[in-house]
């Protein structure tokens, strides 16, 4: 009997999956020290994620070492979970911009974010399944990925930090239900372990955000 046979079958739910990754966190920790800077950055991020996620259906928050895997759930509508997740990510970025103005340069937080929606296995304090892998693949996309894409944007136009990428599934939901966010295709990409071509989108903040956080809009446009 396999070890997994003894375990109860995990609950399967459709959740919005967010991967948030701290840009150059390892480098920063090595340069300025884990106890002096690194742990505070991660704690601050955890605290901010909790604040923005709690009221938007955040159900799972798991450390990935230099970031977090988050999932959002909406009991009424799976699609709304995706919208809440994108809202939470932009609110997180706004708060981080405010925070970055108040802290020393080495303690600044900069993020890469990716949002996907799909069925996941609910395991204690964690999530499993191919859609989780898909969200991580999206987060791994960088300028270096674009020469291997079809119809790519010029690599120089891909932001280095503080941006939100989303899958076709999430882009479809946003274009139908939340038109205040602009979507820009970055190209069709092959994602490791997944067959076929996937169109990946950059989610651009709503125009009104320019007043709240000009840096955010400037970085992403």
């Amino acid at each position: 009997m396999a070890a997994s046979d003894a375990e109860p079958t995990p609950e399967i739910v459709t959740e919005a999956i967010v991967v948030v990754d701290l840009v150059e966190s390892t480098l920063t920790s090595n340069l300025f020290g884990w106890y002096a800077v690194g742990r505070h950055s991660l704690r601050d991020l955890r605290s901010l994620v909790g604040e923005v996620g709690r009221i938007r259906g955040l159900r799972c928050m798991r450390s990935t070492g230099d970031g977090y895997l988050l999932t959002f759930y909406d009991p009424q509508s799976a699609e709304m979970a995706a919208i809440r997740a994108v809202e939470a990510v932009f609110e997180l970025l706004r708060r981080i911009f405010v925070r970055n103005r108040e802290v020393s340069e080495e303690r600044a937080l900069n993020l890469r974010c990716a949002v996907h929606l799909g069925e996941v296995d609910v395991v204690p304090n964690d999530r499993e399944g191919p859609h989780i892998s898909m969200a991580f693949r999206l987060e791994e996309i960088s300028r270096a990925s674009l020469p291997a894409a079809l119809n790519p944007i010029p690599p120089e136009q891909f932001p280095l930090q503080n941006y939100v990428l989303c899958s076709e599934e999430v882009a479809g939901i946003l274009s139908r239900r939340a038109t205040h966010w602009e979507l820009a295709s970055i190209g069709l990409l092959k994602l490791k372990g997944f067959p076929g071509w996937r169109e990946v989108f950059l989610v651009l903040p709503e125009a009104g955000d320019a007043k709240l956080a000009p840096a955010l809009v400037n970085t992403m446009k």
Binding site: L146, A149, P154
Partner: protein, 183 residues
């Protein structure tokens, strides 16, 4: 340095994807698989030049090639297909190629990493390659109706029945499967 001006033109686009690459890496190891991929790039690149290919973009185990003259495409595709039986590195290792062809407007640009071809036609030929993966026999190429209408008559005669597929954000695309072996 001044960037080259993008050039828009109607072109024939071929997409070729090597079948079973992941299995090759898993079963034969990365050294053998890398050798196969290197041979794939060298030989398809050479055949592209021989058949007047405008540009060829390699993406791991696949490539996108653009042609000015659609009459050059099928001889190119058949020569690629012949590699399966003539190239000793491929024989017994590569089970086939998924092939698709489309004709449409594209823009050729010079980028920081080399030549690039852009346009919805690129998406269509890549999406048709997914159709080829699921529907086509190893000796078939999936050809869009737009490309088929411009192909030489002898290849048109090899086309199967009209089929279509609805692609997200692109819409309905009509295509046929064309036999590369003849009648």
């Amino acid at each position: 340095m001044q960037a080259a001006v993008p050039v828009g033109k109607s072109s024939a686009l071929v997409f070729c994807d090597m079948a079973g690459t992941m299995r090759l890496f898993a079963q034969e190891g990365d050294l053998v698989a890398s050798t196969v991929l290197r041979e794939f790039v060298e030989h398809t690149g050479r055949l592209g030049r021989e058949h007047h290919c405008l540009m060829i973009k390699f993406i791991f185990d696949s490539f996108l090639a653009a042609f000015d003259n659609i009459n050059d495409v099928m001889p190119f595709v058949i020569s690629i297909q012949n590699l399966l039986s003539t190239n000793p590195t491929f024989v017994g290792r590569v089970s086939g190629f998924h092939l698709s062809l489309h004709y449409g407007n594209v823009v050729f640009v010079e980028t920081s990493y080399g030549s690039e071809v852009l346009g919805e036609a690129v998406n269509i030929v890549a999406l048709l390659n997914e159709v080829a993966r699921h529907l086509a026999q190893p000796y078939e190429i999936v050809v869009s109706q737009a490309a088929l209408e411009r192909m030489p008559g002898d290849f048109q005669a090899r086309a199967g029945a009209s089929e279509s597929h609805q692609f997200k954000r692109v819409g309905n695309v009509e295509f046929r499967r064309v036999n590369l072996l003849g009648s």
